[in-house]
Protein backbone atom coordinates (compact mmCIF):
# COMPACT_ATOMS: atom_id res chain seq x y z
CA UNK A 1 0.00 0.00 0.00
CA UNK A 2 1.38 3.42 -0.87
CA UNK A 3 2.01 5.89 1.92
CA UNK A 4 0.45 9.35 2.01
CA UNK A 5 2.69 11.91 0.29
CA UNK A 6 1.78 14.65 2.74
CA UNK A 7 2.14 13.12 6.21
CA UNK A 8 4.35 10.16 5.14
CA UNK A 9 2.69 8.15 7.91
CA UNK A 10 -0.76 6.94 7.05
CA UNK A 11 -1.81 4.70 4.21
CA UNK A 12 -2.88 6.64 1.13
CA UNK A 13 -6.47 6.01 0.19
CA UNK A 14 -7.09 8.71 -2.42
CA UNK A 15 -5.25 8.94 -5.71
CA UNK A 16 -5.68 12.15 -7.57
CA UNK A 17 -4.46 12.93 -11.04
CA UNK A 18 -3.87 16.62 -11.43
CA UNK A 19 -3.44 18.40 -14.69
CA UNK A 20 -1.17 21.40 -14.22
CA UNK A 21 -0.42 23.31 -17.44
CA UNK A 22 -0.72 20.16 -19.49
CA UNK A 23 1.53 18.16 -17.13
CA UNK A 24 -0.17 15.27 -15.43
CA UNK A 25 0.94 14.38 -11.92
CA UNK A 26 -0.43 11.75 -9.60
CA UNK A 27 -0.79 12.48 -5.89
CA UNK A 28 -1.44 9.78 -3.28
CA UNK A 29 -2.83 11.04 0.00
CA UNK A 30 -4.65 9.73 3.04
CA UNK A 31 -8.19 10.85 3.76
CA UNK A 32 -7.22 13.06 6.69
CA UNK A 33 -4.54 15.02 4.80
CA UNK A 34 -6.85 15.31 1.81
CA UNK A 35 -9.48 16.96 3.98
CA UNK A 36 -6.99 19.19 5.83
CA UNK A 37 -5.11 20.34 2.73
CA UNK A 38 -8.29 20.92 0.76
CA UNK A 39 -6.97 18.94 -2.22
CA UNK A 40 -10.25 17.12 -2.47
CA UNK A 41 -13.51 18.37 -1.16
CA UNK A 42 -16.11 15.71 -1.49
CA UNK A 43 -19.31 17.60 -1.09
CA UNK A 44 -22.50 15.61 -1.40
CA UNK A 45 -24.46 18.72 -2.33
CA UNK A 46 -22.15 19.51 -5.20
CA UNK A 47 -22.24 15.89 -6.30
CA UNK A 48 -26.04 15.95 -6.43
CA UNK A 49 -26.04 19.28 -8.14
CA UNK A 50 -23.57 17.85 -10.64
CA UNK A 51 -25.94 15.01 -11.47
CA UNK A 52 -28.79 17.44 -11.98
CA UNK A 53 -26.66 19.76 -14.07
CA UNK A 54 -25.68 16.85 -16.28
CA UNK A 55 -29.31 15.91 -16.76
CA UNK A 56 -30.04 19.46 -17.57
CA UNK A 57 -27.28 19.76 -20.17
CA UNK A 58 -28.66 16.67 -21.87
CA UNK A 59 -32.08 18.19 -22.04
CA UNK A 60 -30.71 21.33 -23.65
CA UNK A 61 -33.62 23.37 -22.39
CA UNK A 62 -31.94 26.62 -21.52
CA UNK A 63 -35.08 28.38 -20.34
CA UNK A 64 -35.42 25.85 -17.46
CA UNK A 65 -32.52 27.57 -15.74
CA UNK A 66 -34.48 30.77 -15.21
CA UNK A 67 -37.83 29.21 -14.39
CA UNK A 68 -38.50 29.90 -10.71
CA UNK A 69 -40.58 27.83 -8.25
CA UNK A 70 -43.83 29.61 -7.46
CA UNK A 71 -43.68 28.48 -3.85
CA UNK A 72 -40.25 29.81 -2.87
CA UNK A 73 -38.65 31.39 -5.93
CA UNK A 74 -35.86 28.82 -6.26
CA UNK A 75 -34.41 28.30 -9.74
CA UNK A 76 -32.78 25.17 -11.11
CA UNK A 77 -29.52 27.12 -11.29
CA UNK A 78 -29.74 27.65 -7.52
CA UNK A 79 -30.40 23.97 -6.94
CA UNK A 80 -27.32 23.25 -9.04
CA UNK A 81 -25.16 25.07 -6.50
CA UNK A 82 -26.81 23.94 -3.24
CA UNK A 83 -28.25 20.49 -4.00
CA UNK A 84 -31.15 21.40 -1.72
CA UNK A 85 -34.76 22.16 -2.61
CA UNK A 86 -36.38 25.34 -1.34
CA UNK A 87 -39.87 23.99 -0.66
CA UNK A 88 -42.10 21.04 -1.46
CA UNK A 89 -43.57 22.78 -4.51
CA UNK A 90 -40.12 22.74 -6.15
CA UNK A 91 -40.60 19.06 -6.97
CA UNK A 92 -43.70 19.91 -9.00
CA UNK A 93 -42.09 22.89 -10.72
CA UNK A 94 -39.04 20.88 -11.76
CA UNK A 95 -40.80 17.51 -12.09
CA UNK A 96 -39.01 16.47 -15.27
CA UNK A 97 -35.37 17.07 -14.31
CA UNK A 98 -36.16 15.76 -10.82
CA UNK A 99 -37.46 12.50 -12.22
CA UNK A 100 -34.13 12.01 -14.01
CA UNK A 101 -32.18 12.92 -10.91
CA UNK A 102 -34.20 10.66 -8.60
CA UNK A 103 -33.82 7.73 -10.99
CA UNK A 104 -30.06 8.26 -10.89
CA UNK A 105 -29.97 8.42 -7.11
CA UNK A 106 -32.49 5.75 -6.15
CA UNK A 107 -32.86 3.62 -9.28
CA UNK A 108 -36.59 4.42 -9.20
CA UNK A 109 -38.72 7.52 -9.53
CA UNK A 110 -41.95 6.26 -8.02
CA UNK A 111 -42.83 5.92 -4.34
CA UNK A 112 -44.46 2.63 -3.26
CA UNK A 113 -44.41 2.98 0.54
CA UNK A 114 -46.58 4.55 3.20
CA UNK A 115 -48.83 7.56 2.48
CA UNK A 116 -50.45 10.02 4.90
CA UNK A 117 -53.72 8.89 6.38
CA UNK A 118 -52.92 5.27 5.59
CA UNK A 119 -54.83 2.97 7.88
CA UNK A 120 -53.44 -0.32 9.09
CA UNK A 121 -56.00 -2.21 7.02
CA UNK A 122 -54.82 -0.75 3.75
CA UNK A 123 -51.17 -0.77 4.69
CA UNK A 124 -49.11 -2.16 1.85
CA UNK A 125 -52.18 -3.16 -0.17
CA UNK A 126 -52.00 -0.42 -2.81
CA UNK A 127 -53.82 -2.31 -5.60
CA UNK A 128 -53.29 0.54 -8.08
CA UNK A 129 -49.56 0.17 -7.72
CA UNK A 130 -49.74 -3.54 -8.36
CA UNK A 131 -51.63 -3.05 -11.63
CA UNK A 132 -49.25 -0.33 -12.69
CA UNK A 133 -46.18 -2.43 -11.89
CA UNK A 134 -47.61 -5.36 -13.85
CA UNK A 135 -48.13 -3.23 -16.95
CA UNK A 136 -44.64 -1.78 -16.55
CA UNK A 137 -43.29 -5.32 -16.38
CA UNK A 138 -44.96 -6.25 -19.66
CA UNK A 139 -43.46 -3.17 -21.30
CA UNK A 140 -40.01 -3.90 -19.86
CA UNK A 141 -40.06 -7.45 -21.23
CA UNK A 142 -41.22 -6.20 -24.62
CA UNK A 143 -38.33 -3.74 -24.64
CA UNK A 144 -35.95 -6.52 -23.57
CA UNK A 145 -34.94 -4.43 -20.55
CA UNK A 146 -34.35 -7.51 -18.44
CA UNK A 147 -32.63 -5.86 -15.52
CA UNK A 148 -35.58 -3.51 -15.09
CA UNK A 149 -37.97 -6.44 -15.54
CA UNK A 150 -36.29 -8.46 -12.79
CA UNK A 151 -36.55 -5.51 -10.47
CA UNK A 152 -40.25 -5.01 -11.28
CA UNK A 153 -40.91 -8.72 -10.78
CA UNK A 154 -39.39 -8.53 -7.29
CA UNK A 155 -41.50 -5.55 -6.36
CA UNK A 156 -44.69 -7.23 -7.67
CA UNK A 157 -43.89 -10.35 -5.64
CA UNK A 158 -43.36 -8.26 -2.55
CA UNK A 159 -46.68 -6.46 -2.95
CA UNK A 160 -48.52 -9.72 -3.63
CA UNK A 161 -46.89 -11.39 -0.66
CA UNK A 162 -48.00 -8.57 1.58
CA UNK A 163 -51.50 -8.55 0.14
CA UNK A 164 -51.79 -12.27 0.84
CA UNK A 165 -50.46 -11.84 4.35
CA UNK A 166 -53.28 -9.44 4.97
CA UNK A 167 -56.11 -11.67 3.76
Amino acid sequence: MPICQICSQREASLFITRNLNGQKTQVSVCRQCAAESGIVKIDLNKLLAGLAAFTHAQDEEEEKNVEACQGCGMTLAEFNTTGRMGCSQCYGTFAEPMEHLLTRIHGHARHIGKHPGQTEAEESALPGDLERLKSELICAIAEEAYEKAADLRDRIRELERRREART
Partner: protein
Amino acid sequence: MKKWYVDQGPDSDVVMSCRIRLARNFAGFPYPHGSTPEIRREVMDRTVAALMHGNGGLFLQFRFIDFTRLPSVERQVLVEKHLVSKELAESKIECGVIINDSENISIMINEEDHLRIQCLGAGLQLEELWTLADRIDSFLSESIDFAYDNKFGYLTCCPTNIGTAIRASAMLHLPALVMTGYIKGILESITKLGVAVRGMFGENTETTGNVFQISNQVTLGRTEHDIVTGVRSLSNQIVGQERELRKELLAQNGIRLVDRIHRSYGVLRNARIISADETLQKLSDVRLGVNLGLLPGIDETRLNALMLDIQPGNIQQKLGRALRPDDRDATRASLVREVMQMQDL
Protein backbone atom coordinates in the same frame (compact mmCIF):
# COMPACT_ATOMS: atom_id res chain seq x y z
CA MET B 1 -36.73 5.20 34.00
CA LYS B 2 -33.90 3.22 32.43
CA LYS B 3 -32.49 4.99 29.39
CA TRP B 4 -32.28 2.97 26.18
CA TYR B 5 -28.52 3.46 25.76
CA VAL B 6 -27.62 1.64 28.96
CA ASP B 7 -29.99 -1.18 28.11
CA GLN B 8 -29.09 -4.51 26.56
CA GLY B 9 -30.86 -5.61 23.37
CA PRO B 10 -30.92 -8.54 20.94
CA ASP B 11 -27.49 -9.41 19.46
CA SER B 12 -25.87 -6.75 21.63
CA ASP B 13 -22.56 -8.62 21.65
CA VAL B 14 -22.08 -7.09 18.19
CA VAL B 15 -24.89 -4.59 17.57
CA MET B 16 -24.56 -1.71 19.99
CA SER B 17 -27.67 0.17 18.94
CA CYS B 18 -30.00 0.80 16.03
CA ARG B 19 -32.14 3.65 14.79
CA ILE B 20 -35.05 4.48 12.49
CA ARG B 21 -35.37 8.01 11.20
CA LEU B 22 -38.25 9.50 9.21
CA ALA B 23 -38.08 12.91 7.54
CA ARG B 24 -41.32 14.90 7.30
CA ASN B 25 -42.18 18.40 6.12
CA PHE B 26 -45.19 20.65 6.57
CA ALA B 27 -47.09 21.11 3.29
CA GLY B 28 -47.03 24.68 1.98
CA PHE B 29 -44.10 25.89 4.12
CA PRO B 30 -40.61 26.52 2.73
CA TYR B 31 -37.89 24.23 4.12
CA PRO B 32 -36.19 25.57 7.29
CA HIS B 33 -32.98 26.97 5.75
CA GLY B 34 -34.84 29.30 3.37
CA SER B 35 -37.73 30.06 5.68
CA THR B 36 -38.49 33.01 7.95
CA PRO B 37 -38.07 33.08 11.75
CA GLU B 38 -41.87 33.40 12.09
CA ILE B 39 -42.58 30.29 10.02
CA ARG B 40 -39.85 28.30 11.75
CA ARG B 41 -41.37 29.31 15.08
CA GLU B 42 -44.81 28.24 13.84
CA VAL B 43 -43.46 24.83 12.81
CA MET B 44 -42.06 24.35 16.32
CA ASP B 45 -45.25 25.52 18.03
CA ARG B 46 -47.52 23.35 15.92
CA THR B 47 -45.39 20.24 16.39
CA VAL B 48 -45.21 20.74 20.14
CA ALA B 49 -48.99 21.32 20.27
CA ALA B 50 -49.68 18.20 18.20
CA LEU B 51 -47.58 15.95 20.44
CA MET B 52 -47.92 17.42 23.88
CA HIS B 53 -51.50 18.57 23.82
CA GLY B 54 -52.83 15.85 21.53
CA ASN B 55 -55.45 13.69 23.19
CA GLY B 56 -52.97 11.18 24.48
CA GLY B 57 -53.13 8.78 21.55
CA LEU B 58 -49.52 7.78 22.12
CA PHE B 59 -49.46 7.46 25.93
CA LEU B 60 -45.94 8.82 26.06
CA GLN B 61 -44.47 11.66 28.09
CA PHE B 62 -42.60 14.21 26.00
CA ARG B 63 -40.56 17.28 26.83
CA PHE B 64 -39.60 20.04 24.41
CA ILE B 65 -36.11 21.58 24.39
CA ASP B 66 -35.89 24.95 22.63
CA PHE B 67 -32.38 25.31 21.16
CA THR B 68 -32.51 29.09 20.86
CA ARG B 69 -31.82 29.36 24.58
CA LEU B 70 -29.74 26.21 25.10
CA PRO B 71 -26.01 26.48 26.02
CA SER B 72 -23.67 24.73 23.61
CA VAL B 73 -22.45 22.18 26.19
CA GLU B 74 -25.99 20.92 26.62
CA ARG B 75 -26.46 20.71 22.88
CA GLN B 76 -23.22 18.68 22.76
CA VAL B 77 -24.59 16.27 25.38
CA LEU B 78 -27.64 15.60 23.19
CA VAL B 79 -25.36 14.87 20.22
CA GLU B 80 -23.32 12.43 22.29
CA LYS B 81 -26.52 10.63 23.28
CA HIS B 82 -27.42 10.43 19.55
CA LEU B 83 -30.64 12.34 20.27
CA VAL B 84 -29.81 15.18 17.87
CA SER B 85 -27.44 15.54 14.92
CA LYS B 86 -24.27 17.63 14.87
CA GLU B 87 -26.01 19.85 12.32
CA LEU B 88 -28.87 20.65 14.70
CA ALA B 89 -26.45 21.33 17.58
CA GLU B 90 -24.55 23.84 15.43
CA SER B 91 -27.66 25.43 13.94
CA LYS B 92 -28.11 29.18 14.33
CA ILE B 93 -31.81 29.27 13.35
CA GLU B 94 -34.96 28.63 15.44
CA CYS B 95 -34.85 24.91 16.16
CA GLY B 96 -35.32 22.36 18.92
CA VAL B 97 -36.05 18.78 19.84
CA ILE B 98 -38.86 16.83 21.50
CA ILE B 99 -37.70 13.90 23.60
CA ASN B 100 -39.62 11.29 25.61
CA ASP B 101 -38.83 10.12 29.16
CA SER B 102 -36.74 7.08 28.32
CA GLU B 103 -34.98 9.06 25.56
CA ASN B 104 -35.62 6.46 22.87
CA ILE B 105 -37.71 8.87 20.79
CA SER B 106 -36.50 12.22 19.56
CA ILE B 107 -38.14 14.57 17.09
CA MET B 108 -35.77 17.18 15.71
CA ILE B 109 -37.51 20.33 14.54
CA ASN B 110 -36.09 22.61 11.82
CA GLU B 111 -33.00 20.61 11.04
CA GLU B 112 -32.64 20.11 7.27
CA ASP B 113 -36.30 19.11 7.14
CA HIS B 114 -39.10 20.45 9.34
CA LEU B 115 -39.26 17.19 11.29
CA ARG B 116 -36.89 14.29 11.78
CA ILE B 117 -38.61 11.56 13.80
CA GLN B 118 -36.03 9.24 15.36
CA CYS B 119 -36.52 6.03 17.34
CA LEU B 120 -33.49 4.49 19.00
CA GLY B 121 -32.94 1.12 20.60
CA ALA B 122 -30.26 -1.11 22.13
CA GLY B 123 -29.12 -4.09 20.08
CA LEU B 124 -30.75 -5.06 16.82
CA GLN B 125 -34.50 -4.35 16.82
CA LEU B 126 -35.14 -2.35 13.66
CA GLU B 127 -38.60 -3.80 12.91
CA GLU B 128 -39.86 -2.84 16.37
CA LEU B 129 -38.47 0.67 16.00
CA TRP B 130 -40.11 1.06 12.59
CA THR B 131 -43.48 0.12 14.11
CA LEU B 132 -42.96 2.79 16.76
CA ALA B 133 -41.85 5.47 14.28
CA ASP B 134 -44.78 4.57 12.03
CA ARG B 135 -47.21 5.11 14.93
CA ILE B 136 -45.72 8.47 15.85
CA ASP B 137 -45.82 9.57 12.21
CA SER B 138 -49.47 8.51 11.82
CA PHE B 139 -50.37 10.25 15.06
CA LEU B 140 -48.70 13.50 13.95
CA SER B 141 -50.32 13.35 10.52
CA GLU B 142 -53.75 13.52 12.19
CA SER B 143 -53.08 17.15 13.03
CA ILE B 144 -50.30 18.14 10.60
CA ASP B 145 -50.64 18.14 6.81
CA PHE B 146 -47.35 16.62 5.60
CA ALA B 147 -45.88 17.41 2.16
CA TYR B 148 -46.62 14.33 0.08
CA ASP B 149 -46.76 13.67 -3.65
CA ASN B 150 -48.52 10.66 -5.19
CA LYS B 151 -45.56 9.95 -7.40
CA PHE B 152 -42.52 10.99 -5.35
CA GLY B 153 -43.90 10.14 -1.89
CA TYR B 154 -42.87 12.19 1.16
CA LEU B 155 -41.07 15.30 -0.09
CA THR B 156 -37.81 16.25 1.56
CA CYS B 157 -35.33 19.09 1.34
CA CYS B 158 -32.63 16.83 -0.09
CA PRO B 159 -33.60 14.53 -2.99
CA THR B 160 -31.55 11.70 -1.42
CA ASN B 161 -34.19 11.29 1.32
CA ILE B 162 -37.37 11.48 -0.75
CA GLY B 163 -40.09 8.80 -0.99
CA THR B 164 -40.31 6.79 2.21
CA ALA B 165 -37.87 9.32 3.72
CA ILE B 166 -36.72 6.51 5.99
CA ARG B 167 -33.20 5.82 7.20
CA ALA B 168 -32.66 2.55 9.04
CA SER B 169 -29.26 2.19 10.68
CA ALA B 170 -27.35 -0.14 12.95
CA MET B 171 -24.22 0.59 15.01
CA LEU B 172 -21.92 -2.40 14.86
CA HIS B 173 -18.87 -3.22 17.00
CA LEU B 174 -16.57 -5.23 14.74
CA PRO B 175 -13.16 -5.72 16.41
CA ALA B 176 -12.49 -9.19 14.97
CA LEU B 177 -13.30 -8.13 11.42
CA VAL B 178 -10.95 -5.16 11.83
CA MET B 179 -8.12 -7.20 13.44
CA THR B 180 -8.19 -9.78 10.68
CA GLY B 181 -8.50 -7.18 7.93
CA TYR B 182 -11.68 -8.75 6.52
CA ILE B 183 -13.53 -5.53 7.24
CA LYS B 184 -12.26 -3.93 4.03
CA GLY B 185 -13.91 -6.47 1.78
CA ILE B 186 -17.10 -6.35 3.80
CA LEU B 187 -17.31 -2.58 3.63
CA GLU B 188 -16.71 -2.66 -0.12
CA SER B 189 -19.45 -5.20 -0.78
CA ILE B 190 -21.87 -3.42 1.55
CA THR B 191 -21.47 -0.20 -0.42
CA LYS B 192 -22.29 -2.06 -3.60
CA LEU B 193 -25.58 -3.18 -2.04
CA GLY B 194 -26.72 0.43 -1.65
CA VAL B 195 -25.86 0.56 2.05
CA ALA B 196 -23.73 3.40 3.45
CA VAL B 197 -21.05 3.04 6.12
CA ARG B 198 -20.29 5.86 8.51
CA GLY B 199 -18.60 6.63 11.82
CA MET B 200 -20.24 6.69 15.22
CA PHE B 201 -21.85 10.12 14.96
CA GLY B 202 -23.22 9.88 11.43
CA GLU B 203 -22.31 11.71 8.28
CA ASN B 204 -18.73 12.98 7.93
CA THR B 205 -17.50 11.33 11.13
CA GLU B 206 -14.52 9.00 11.51
CA THR B 207 -14.81 5.44 12.74
CA THR B 208 -13.31 5.05 16.22
CA GLY B 209 -13.10 2.07 18.50
CA ASN B 210 -14.07 -0.37 15.71
CA VAL B 211 -17.62 0.97 15.65
CA PHE B 212 -19.33 1.26 12.27
CA GLN B 213 -22.74 2.57 11.41
CA ILE B 214 -24.51 1.07 8.40
CA SER B 215 -27.68 2.47 6.84
CA ASN B 216 -29.78 2.29 3.67
CA GLN B 217 -29.08 4.79 0.91
CA VAL B 218 -32.12 4.24 -1.30
CA THR B 219 -35.35 5.70 0.07
CA LEU B 220 -37.53 5.80 -3.06
CA GLY B 221 -39.18 2.94 -4.96
CA ARG B 222 -39.00 0.45 -2.10
CA THR B 223 -41.38 -0.04 0.80
CA GLU B 224 -40.39 0.84 4.36
CA HIS B 225 -40.73 -2.83 5.27
CA ASP B 226 -38.30 -3.80 2.49
CA ILE B 227 -35.74 -1.22 3.52
CA VAL B 228 -35.91 -2.08 7.22
CA THR B 229 -35.65 -5.84 6.72
CA GLY B 230 -32.84 -5.25 4.22
CA VAL B 231 -30.66 -3.43 6.73
CA ARG B 232 -31.63 -5.90 9.46
CA SER B 233 -30.70 -9.00 7.47
CA LEU B 234 -27.45 -7.45 6.29
CA SER B 235 -26.63 -6.67 9.93
CA ASN B 236 -27.47 -10.28 10.85
CA GLN B 237 -24.99 -11.52 8.27
CA ILE B 238 -22.23 -9.25 9.54
CA VAL B 239 -23.02 -10.29 13.13
CA GLY B 240 -22.62 -13.93 12.11
CA GLN B 241 -19.24 -13.32 10.48
CA GLU B 242 -17.95 -11.24 13.39
CA ARG B 243 -18.92 -13.98 15.88
CA GLU B 244 -17.23 -16.70 13.83
CA LEU B 245 -14.04 -14.66 13.56
CA ARG B 246 -13.99 -13.93 17.29
CA LYS B 247 -14.12 -17.65 18.00
CA GLU B 248 -11.44 -18.34 15.44
CA LEU B 249 -9.15 -15.62 16.78
CA LEU B 250 -9.47 -17.00 20.26
CA ALA B 251 -8.79 -20.56 19.09
CA GLN B 252 -5.82 -19.77 16.84
CA ASN B 253 -4.24 -16.78 18.49
CA GLY B 254 -5.59 -17.16 22.00
CA ILE B 255 -2.77 -15.88 24.19
CA ARG B 256 -2.12 -12.84 22.00
CA LEU B 257 -5.77 -11.84 22.02
CA VAL B 258 -6.12 -12.40 25.76
CA ASP B 259 -2.94 -10.38 26.31
CA ARG B 260 -4.23 -7.50 24.22
CA ILE B 261 -7.55 -7.43 26.07
CA HIS B 262 -5.93 -7.45 29.49
CA ARG B 263 -3.39 -4.79 28.48
CA SER B 264 -6.21 -2.50 27.43
CA TYR B 265 -8.03 -3.27 30.65
CA GLY B 266 -4.82 -2.40 32.51
CA VAL B 267 -4.56 0.96 30.75
CA LEU B 268 -8.16 1.86 31.54
CA ARG B 269 -7.70 0.79 35.15
CA ASN B 270 -4.53 2.79 35.68
CA ALA B 271 -4.26 5.72 33.28
CA ARG B 272 -4.07 9.23 34.78
CA ILE B 273 -4.58 11.10 31.50
CA ILE B 274 -6.54 9.66 28.61
CA SER B 275 -8.14 11.07 25.43
CA ALA B 276 -11.65 10.15 24.27
CA ASP B 277 -10.18 8.38 21.23
CA GLU B 278 -7.79 6.21 23.24
CA THR B 279 -10.55 5.37 25.70
CA LEU B 280 -12.82 4.22 22.88
CA GLN B 281 -10.05 2.08 21.39
CA LYS B 282 -9.25 0.41 24.71
CA LEU B 283 -12.94 0.05 25.55
CA SER B 284 -13.36 -1.81 22.27
CA ASP B 285 -10.84 -4.43 23.48
CA VAL B 286 -12.45 -4.62 26.91
CA ARG B 287 -15.91 -5.00 25.37
CA LEU B 288 -14.59 -7.85 23.23
CA GLY B 289 -13.12 -9.41 26.37
CA VAL B 290 -16.51 -9.19 28.09
CA ASN B 291 -18.28 -10.71 25.08
CA LEU B 292 -15.78 -13.59 25.01
CA GLY B 293 -16.27 -14.21 28.74
CA LEU B 294 -12.68 -13.20 29.57
CA LEU B 295 -13.61 -10.37 31.93
CA PRO B 296 -16.52 -11.87 33.88
CA GLY B 297 -16.68 -9.07 36.45
CA ILE B 298 -17.61 -6.38 33.94
CA ASP B 299 -21.19 -5.62 33.06
CA GLU B 300 -21.75 -4.75 29.39
CA THR B 301 -24.35 -2.10 30.18
CA ARG B 302 -21.76 -0.27 32.33
CA LEU B 303 -19.53 -0.08 29.27
CA ASN B 304 -22.41 1.39 27.26
CA ALA B 305 -22.91 4.07 29.89
CA LEU B 306 -19.17 4.72 30.08
CA MET B 307 -18.89 5.22 26.32
CA LEU B 308 -21.28 8.14 26.70
CA ASP B 309 -19.90 9.52 29.95
CA ILE B 310 -16.37 9.93 28.57
CA GLN B 311 -17.44 12.19 25.68
CA PRO B 312 -16.33 15.83 26.11
CA GLY B 313 -19.83 17.30 26.48
CA ASN B 314 -21.02 14.72 28.99
CA ILE B 315 -17.89 15.10 31.16
CA GLN B 316 -18.39 18.84 31.36
CA GLN B 317 -22.08 18.51 32.10
CA LYS B 318 -21.36 16.04 34.90
CA LEU B 319 -18.92 18.48 36.48
CA GLY B 320 -21.17 21.41 35.84
CA ARG B 321 -18.45 23.58 34.31
CA ALA B 322 -16.35 23.96 31.17
CA LEU B 323 -12.96 22.24 31.23
CA ARG B 324 -9.73 22.75 29.28
CA PRO B 325 -8.83 19.73 27.11
CA ASP B 326 -5.95 18.74 29.47
CA ASP B 327 -8.20 18.77 32.52
CA ARG B 328 -10.82 16.89 30.57
CA ASP B 329 -8.35 14.07 29.87
CA ALA B 330 -7.45 13.84 33.55
CA THR B 331 -11.11 13.89 34.61
CA ARG B 332 -11.90 11.26 32.01
CA ALA B 333 -9.10 9.01 33.27
CA SER B 334 -10.36 9.17 36.82
CA LEU B 335 -13.92 8.48 35.68
CA VAL B 336 -12.79 5.42 33.72
CA ARG B 337 -10.61 4.16 36.61
CA GLU B 338 -13.55 4.45 38.98
CA VAL B 339 -15.78 2.27 36.79
CA MET B 340 -13.04 -0.27 36.01
CA GLN B 341 -11.97 -0.66 39.64
CA MET B 342 -15.53 -1.20 40.76
CA GLN B 343 -15.50 -4.39 38.74
CA ASP B 344 -13.92 -6.88 41.08
CA LEU B 345 -12.17 -9.59 39.12
